[in-house]
Symmetry: C4
Subunit: 274 residues, 4 copies
């Protein structure tokens, strides 16, 4: 298992080409946010915008529209039960499925619609309740550009490994059974690609607060949208999330996701100049 | 009556353990916010998030969802008349009952549901209208981890002591008739536990503005969730609330609750480093 | 006509008494904000909170609830067509009637309800559309603590004086026909009490933007609620509004009301220390 | 083709006359924001307010009211399908038609209503979906004060020129077939008036993010409303938008529209002092 190098973000976060437009930096769609957990989709979308994705849309429960636009007018919004969801899915480059989705019948329907609409060329970050639903139903997701982002309990549901059994070796073995990349989130997050495995050396207990995982999904989506779908982008996103949190934790007892999100453009500018 | 020592916050607000997760820092549920007083629940929840509670949910009137998420996407939201409220109550560590709840039939029903669902192991901060309802109906609340937060008029209703009669001695006697801890809020707040009584030496008239009490309940909930249910946590929460207000009051004629809340992570980081 | 002295704010904005509570600093009710002009009531209420009023409520169209609480959880909210409006009116110290109220049948009903509910002991700031409605119907408002805040066109409707005829002398004569105090807003605002008249020496064209008048009403309400209903409070409120705007205009081409409101606590703290 | 001179903003952005009022700085109406793209209208309106327009209204889908007022209480709001839209259009100086309008039947109806209501004396900025609708239907818009703001794909639809064919010479020829001024947005934006053509020398790839075009329309509207409808105002608005973005891009990897909008009053104050 390789430790992510502190030089990686500066290698991945490139100076932008002069002749570019919104499309150059990718289209991201966040699918999640039921009436109880609407904030999760808002935080994921905010992270994607502030991490530089070109265009960000959110498919969420209708009741979340006002709060989304009040915080983030930069994002577009479609009710997640709208018949045009499949068409929207097919128009984007990166999909985040799961933040605040829940596990009820509506969530199940959104999951089914999404998995039917995505194509193997698309990156799909599978998070939170979507992992739980997939695990419960023993679904096989054959998407080569899947990125799974379970925390330890979700990873137990998905892999069958109890938290105490989640060693790097057993995690790697279980991850190899899944298509794509697996990010097992803990205070020292591990990343498993088909070819390799990586350890995130950063992370602070000040990050242990609701919404941090949603925020990571938005950063991952923006990095893949801008810098490509490869291990370097994914590891740089994980590292960036923790590096900003460590900076903020120097004078914040808890790092609230909204504050981490606001700090993204400045951190990324520093890296791009290196 | 002991005066809270200025060294207490630094003793209570500990450096977080490295290997931790959201659950380590506790689950808080704010129950309150009717259609007229929705802001009270939003301020209590915001204070809980910014004071470091691991996960914060709000049970409130449905009409308050948009405003809650627009200000605080970090919190989860359930309508307070949802049938799953008892299950949510039983899944958390600390409950705040009362900010902006009102005293009508809906408020009464929420109060009844909550008191029936909580267990003696749970901390329950009883605030505002919930105190008024309990006093009006001469209810006995037999919860050992209750924390009552009346202001002087609410304390009069609950204890039968007119404001002019609220001396430390008579307050202590009345508090001993109630289960748990009583915080009698005034410009010099007093705290009565089963074993002891404490005086808050801080407080500024710049705090005399709507929402300050709601903010205190959120800080109390977060401190109990993170640092345990004991007199030290409770006194440190009361002291922290006033200490931040005194700092802000040096150059703010009035300390608006939203500004006090935003200052929590920095104040707590300073204390944790001491 | 006397020019307001620059020392006045420091004389009016007193250090707060240590032993005080929310009620000490007054209850303010903003009545306004129809579905088209909801922001006006939000700005007036925000100014009242940030200028130090103890408790602020807003009676407005139901559709404005979410935006009000998203910006200002510190305020309470009642639909302005709720049957309990008269009771709420009678429970407060200062009423602002008119920001964004409009002139349709609902506005008329709110005006009628309000004028029937207020008592001569209450301060009532009459602004915007409320002035227009009263002028159109040739109503006589016999409230000794009325404060009228017309801009020049509204003053024309109310006084019958065309803008070109609005000299200090003719304004004073027309104002003496009305109960209470008249504030004729222009780039050099004039204030007419029963006994005297005053000129505001400050004001900047950077203030010529939508919402500035609403903001003034909130400051007026908070000053009267805290410092009493007299010419000094009223003149200090007008001066404070312009003084902050002049400070901000040094490096802002336009002073947006939200920015002026945010600067109130610091300005008032500076004055109180003098 | 002339390059916009860096001295232009300071020439256009004048010190405001002392004796002025809201009307002096113009009335702007933003028409756009369907249920999916509500943020676009919010960003355009925010830019208009912060760039100094005297009064700003928004005609948008009813579902966008809460988010608009939560972010921008300074603006007024009318549902875009309200029968009073034509009267509102006729009461303003500058209209922005198109941000987030979409292309469905409702959008078509709003377009038809608007084009029927505007008069040749009014400035109309035609943006986004409005351009697409007009191109699809081969409509001729005979408004001398039209300002078209297509990006390259919209310009292809409107002019028939494929992106690769969009040279200054062919753009000028195509623009001369349209009434008014054409702003072809790219990383080096070109501006075509009846008499002349201009190149914007500024612009950064940090601007390539959703909402930047909406933000430009608001700045254009405010500049025309304050400084008049002429090539200087229009070029200064385009230059200002890019100049602020370049400043922010020095330490922000992506310039989020909300941050650019917040920086408008300070940039304009600097220019006005030169």
């Amino acid at each position: 298992m390789k430790t992510i190098d502190q030089a990686l973000p500066a290698q991945v976060i490139r100076l932008r080409p002069a002749n570019s437009h919104k499309g150059t930096f990718g289209r991201v769609l966040i699918i999640g946010g039921n009436p109880q957990y609407g904030g999760a989709a808002i935080m994921a979308a905010s992270a994607a915008v502030y991490a530089g994705a070109g265009l960000v849309s959110v498919a969420t429960a209708t009741v979340n529209r006002s709060a989304l636009h009040a915080r983030l007018p930069e994002a577009m919004m479609l009710p997640y039960d709208d018949p045009s969801l499949p068409a929207l899915i097919q128009s984007v480059d990166v999909i985040v499925l799961g933040p605040g989705l829940g596990t009820d019948a509506t969530a199940q329907q959104v999951l089914t619609t999404t998995l039917a609409a995505v194509t193997p060329e698309q990156s799909v970050i599978i998070d939170g309740s979507a992992i739980t639903l997939i695990a419960q139903q023993h679904l096989t997701v054959a998407l080569p550009k899947a990125v799974w982002t379970p925390h330890q309990m979700e990873w137990q549901r998905l892999s069958g490994l109890a938290v105490a059994q989640q060693t790097p070796t057993s995690n790697a073995a279980a991850a190899s059974q899944l298509a794509g990349t697996v990010i097992v989130k803990s205070h020292r997050t591990e990343i498993f690609t088909a070819a390799d495995s990586f350890l995130n050396p950063l992370g602070t207990p000040a990050m242990a607060t609701g919404g941090m995982g949603d925020t990571l999904t938005g950063i991952l989506a923006a990095f893949i949208a801008q810098f490509g779908h490869h291990a370097g982008s994914i590891c740089a996103a994980v590292y960036t999330h923790s590096a900003i949190a460590e900076q903020l934790a120097q004078d914040h007892y808890v790092v609230v996701p909204s504050q981490l999100i606001a700090a993204l453009p400045a951190y990324m500018a520093q890296q791009a100049k290196k």
